[in-house]
Symmetry: C2
Subunit: 472 residues, 2 copies
C-alpha cells in the first residue's frame, strides 16, 4: 500500500471509527453471536492473491461487528471499564505509523524519554511519593497490564529477599518464601505466585473485614505464624479498589507491618488509581510512602486505550536486578554509559511499543483539570445510582461505594439476581457483570466511560426496576 | 473529542503518517539526540487545562521526531526488523477505535474467533503440523513477543513435568528441573528460566557447531550427565534462525532426543518463521512434528506491526493447566459451557487487545502469494549482498546466510569493524547492529522492510566499501 493509497483508505477508516463512535450507543452492548458463528462466516482458507481494501472493510461490518461486545458503549457497565478517547486512539495510530520499538534507549530515545517524563508527570498528578520519581532511585514504566506489573513486583521482591539466589540457583536453593494478599485480591496475584515458581500454597489469602478490606491484624497473625514455622515472608500485595467490590485495603496500617517484617509492599490500584488525580479522593492512598511499588491502569479509567498500565518502583535497581539481560547483540554505547534507561530491563518481554505517546496526548488534550472533571462526574453518577438503590426497598447495597463501582442486589436472592443479570445483558440495553459477596450473587455497576452521561445511568436504573417488576 | 473533531483530526494524523512514510527514507535512521535532550525540551509539569490538538501534533514534529530511530526506514538493517505495512497500521487503528478487550470469549466473540481462525490459516500457510490446529488438541494464540511465548512454553513444560506440583506447592517441592538451549539461543530463554524460578544454573547452554547451530550430540551428553546426577531434564528450546547469526538448529535431529527423554520441545522462529510461507525454505523447519510448541513473530518479517507474536501448542490443555485462573467475577455461561476459548488462560496477562484484526488485514491485503513474493525478494537481496561481500577481498562472511541476515566483517579486525559500524550509524545513511561470532566483532545486515528496495541495499554496500577505503 503506497502512501497515497494509505492516505485514501486511512481517511475511510477514520470516518468508519467516527461513525462507530457516534452510533455505538444504539448497538446491543453484549454480542449475541453463539459460539462458532463468526468462524463459520469466515472462509476456511486465506486468499492466494491480495484483496481490495474495501472488501476487507466490508467484511468487518458484515462478519465481525455482530460478534463485537461494545466496550466503548456508554451503556457498558461491566467488569472494570477499558475506556478510551479520541486523542488516545489517534496517538495509538501515530505509534503504529512510526512503528518504533523501544526496547533500548538507543532504539528511539524519544520513546524512552517521553515515557520517563510522562510517568514523572503522573506521579505528581497522583501525588505519589517522591521516591517514585526518576530523579530519585525509583522510577516509572509502562506495562501492558496490572497482572504483568504485579509479576514484576513479585520477581523484584523474590530477588531482593534471596539476594539474587533465586535467579541464579532457583527457588529450590532458597528459604521457603511466603506472599500475602487479601482474600479479595485480584487473581493475577495468585497467577504471579504460580509463574514465579513459589506455589499457590505459599500465598496466604488474608481474611477481609466487613467492608472487604484486608485486615492488618489477620495479616500480622499469619506472618508471625509463618515465621514461627520457619518460613520467610517476603511480599504483600495491597489493593486500593479491589476488582470484586472496590474495597480499599488500609495501606497506612499495612505499611508498617510490611516494613517491620521486610516485606516488599506492592499496591495495586488498577482502576481506582485514577481517582488520586482528585485531592478529595487521596485519603484512599494514604500510606503509599511505605510502598515499594505502585500500579494503576490509565487503560481502565483514564481514557487511554488498552494496553497502558503504569508501574512505579522505589528502587529501580531492585527491579533491574531481577529482570536484566544483556546479550552481545543488544550492547551499545548509550547502555554502556549508564546515562540512559533501557526499559527492556523493567518488564517481562524484550520488545515494546511507543505507548507513552497516548498518555502524553491524553494528558495534554484533557489537562489535569479536565481529567479530574471526568473522574468527579463518574463518581457523582455512581453515588447517585447508589442512592437510588438505597431508596428502593427491593434492592440493597452489598458493599460500600467509595468511588465509581456500585455493588448491589435484589433482596429476593441469587436466582432473582441471576434472572435480572441475564435478562438485562440479553436485552442489549446495557452490559454488567457480577461478583459474589458474603456468599451472595451481587450485581456490579461500574461507571467509567468517557461517553456515559447521566441519562445512560438513569436508563440503566429504570431497566433494573423494570426487571424487578417482572420478577413477580 | 466529539466524533466530528475526531474525524477532522483523524484525517490530519493519517496525512501525517502518509507523509512520514513517503519521506522516512530521507531521515537519518538512527536518532542523534544525546541522552536527556528530549526530556529537556518537554515542560516539567503537565498542563492544567486541555491544549489544542494542533499544538500537540506540532510538538510531535518539533520535540519528539528528532529523537526517533526510524524503524520503518528502508535503510534500517539493524537487529531483526519490526516491520509494518499500511493495512496493518489501519487495522491497529480500527482495533484502538473498537476498544475491545478480549480476555474472554464473551467479552467479544469476534476477537477470539478471528484469532483462532487466522492462526489456523497461518498454520496452513506455514505448513505447520496438523497437531497445532484448533480442530485438534492444539491451537494458536497471539502473544506480545517471542519472549512471552517462550515463558508460556516453559511454564507449560514445568507443570507437565511436575504434574502440577510446581503451581501448587512451588519448585522447592519438585525434583530439580533442567532446561536446555543452544549457546546461541535468545536471551529470553535465560530470562524465562529465571522468571519461572528455576535458576540460571539449571539452564544448559549447549555448544553449537561451526555454523552456530545446536549440536545434538552435545545435547545428548548433557542430558545423560544431568540424569546421572539425579536431575530432571524437562525443556528444550530450539531456534530456527538465531538472533545473533540466523543459525538453524537441526530440529529433526533434536526432536527424537527430546521425545526419548520427555523434554518439552519449543521451537522459536521469531524472525525466520515467516520464511516457511515459501515451500523452498521449509526444509529449515523439518522436524516440527516433534515440537510441543512453535512461535514466530509477524511483527518481525510479516508486515504486521509490533506487537504480534504467534504461538502454537500441541496440547492446549497443558498450556491452560499452567496458566488458568477463574475468579468469580470472570465466570460466565459461555466459559462454563466449555464450548469456547478464553485466551486469558493462554498468556501471562489477563487483558488483551484485538490483535487478530491486523493479521487478518495483512494476509488478505497481500494474499499468500503476495507475502511469499516479499520474502523471496528480501532473501534474494540478502544473497546478492552476501555475494558482494564474498567478492571483496577486504571482507569475509562470518556465518552461513540461509535467508535474509548477512553476518560479515572486515578482515582488519575488531577495531576496524567498530569504526565502520560507528561511522555508518553516525552518518544516518543506514542503521545496522553487531554481534560477536567466534570471538570476533561481526556486522549484521538484516533485510526485511517492506520498503527496502535493491537500491537501498546497493547503497548500503557502497557505503561499506567507502568506509573500508577510509580505513587505510
Amino acid at each position: 500500500m503506497n502512501p497515497e493509497d494509505f492516505r485514501h483508505f486511512g481517511h475511510t477508516v477514520v470516518d468508519w471509527i467516527a461513525d462507530y463512535r457516534a452510533t455505538v450507543e444504539s448497538r446491543p452492548v453484549l454480542a449475541r453471536t453463539p459460539p462458532g458463528a463468526i468462524r463459520a462466516a469466515l472462509p476456511p482458507s486465506p486468499p492466494d492473491q491480495g484483496e481490495p481494501f474495501a472488501a476487507i472493510l466490508a467484511d468487518l461490518d458484515r462478519i465481525l461487528l455482530p460478534g463485537i461486545t461494545h466496550w466503548q458503549s456508554p451503556n457498558f457497565f461491566a467488569f472494570f471499564p477499558s475506556n478510551t478517547s479520541g486523542p488516545s486512539i489517534l496517538a495509538e495510530l501515530l505509534s503504529a505509523g512510526l512503528g518504533v520499538q523501544g526496547m533500548l534507549w538507543a532504539t528511539s530515545p524519544a520513546c524512552t524519554e517521553l515515557e520517563t517524563h510522562v510517568l514523572d508527570w503522573l506521579a505528581h498528578m497522583l501525588a505519589l511519593p517522591d521516591a517514585f520519581l526518576s530523579s530519585t532511585d525509583g522510577g516509572g514504566v509502562i506495562q501492558d497490564t496490572a497482572s504483568s506489573a504485579a509479576l514484576c513486583a513479585l520477581l523484584a521482591a523474590r530477588e531482593r529477599t534471596t539476594g539474587g539466589a533465586s535467579n541464579e540457583h532457583g527457588l529450590a536453593a532458597c528459604p521457603p518464601l511466603v506472599a500475602y494478599a487479601s482474600s479479595q485480591a485480584h487473581s493475577s496475584i495468585e497467577k504471579a505466585v504460580k509463574i514465579a515458581g513459589l506455589g499457590r500454597t505459599h500465598l496466604r489469602l488474608v481474611p477481609a473485614d466487613a467492608a472487604f478490606a484486608l485486615r492488618p491484624d489477620a495479616l500480622l497473625e499469619l506472618i508471625q505464624a509463618d515465621r514461627a514455622a520457619g518460613l520467610q515472608p517476603f511480599f504483600l500485595a495491597a489493593t486500593v479498589g479491589t476488582t470484586s467490590s472496590n474495597a480499599m485495603d488500609p495501606v497506612a496500617a499495612l505499611g508498617p507491618i510490611a516494613r517491620d517484617h521486610g516485606l516488599w509492599l506492592h499496591v495495586d490500584a488498577a482502576m481506582s488509581g485514577t481517582a488520586a488525580l482528585c485531592p478529595e479522593f487521596r485519603h484512599f492512598f494514604a500510606g503509599l510512602d511505605f510502598a515499594d511499588s505502585f500500579n494503576f491502569n490509565p487503560h481502565k479509567w483514564m481514557f487511554t486505550n488498552f494496553d497502558c498500565s503504569c508501574f512505579w518502583v522505589r528502587s529501580r535497581a531492585a527491579l533491574i536486578a531481577a529482570l536484566s539481560i544483556l546479550p552481545e547483540y543488544l550492547r551499545n554505547a548509550a547502555t554502556a554509559s549508564g546515562a540512559v534507561i533501557d526499559y527492556r530491563d523493567w518488564q517481562i518481554p524484550l520488545g515494546r511499543r511507543f505507548r507513552a505517546l497516548k498518555l502524553w496526548f491524553v494528558i495534554r488534550h484533557y489537562g489535569v483539570e479536565g481529567l479530574r472533571r471526568e473522574v468527579r462526574r463518574h463518581v457523582a453518577l455512581a453515588q447517585e445510582f447508589a442512592a437510588w438503590v438505597r431508596d428502593d426497598p427491593r434492592f440493597e447495597l452489598a458493599a460500600p461505594v467509595p468511588l465509581n463501582l456500585v455493588c448491589f442486589r435484589h433482596r429476593a436472592g441469587d436466582a432473582a439476581n441471576q434472572t435480572i443479570l441475564d435478562r438485562l445483558n440479553a436485552s442489549g440495553d446495557l452490559y454488567l457483570t457480577h461478583t459474589r459477596l458474603d456468599g451472595k450473587l451481587t450485581l456490579r455497576m461500574c461507571i467509567g466511560q468517557a461517553s456515559t452521561e447521566r441519562r445512560h445511568v438513569a436508563n440503566a436504573w429504570r431497566r433494573f426496576q423494570q426487571e424487578a417488576d417482572a420478577l413477580v
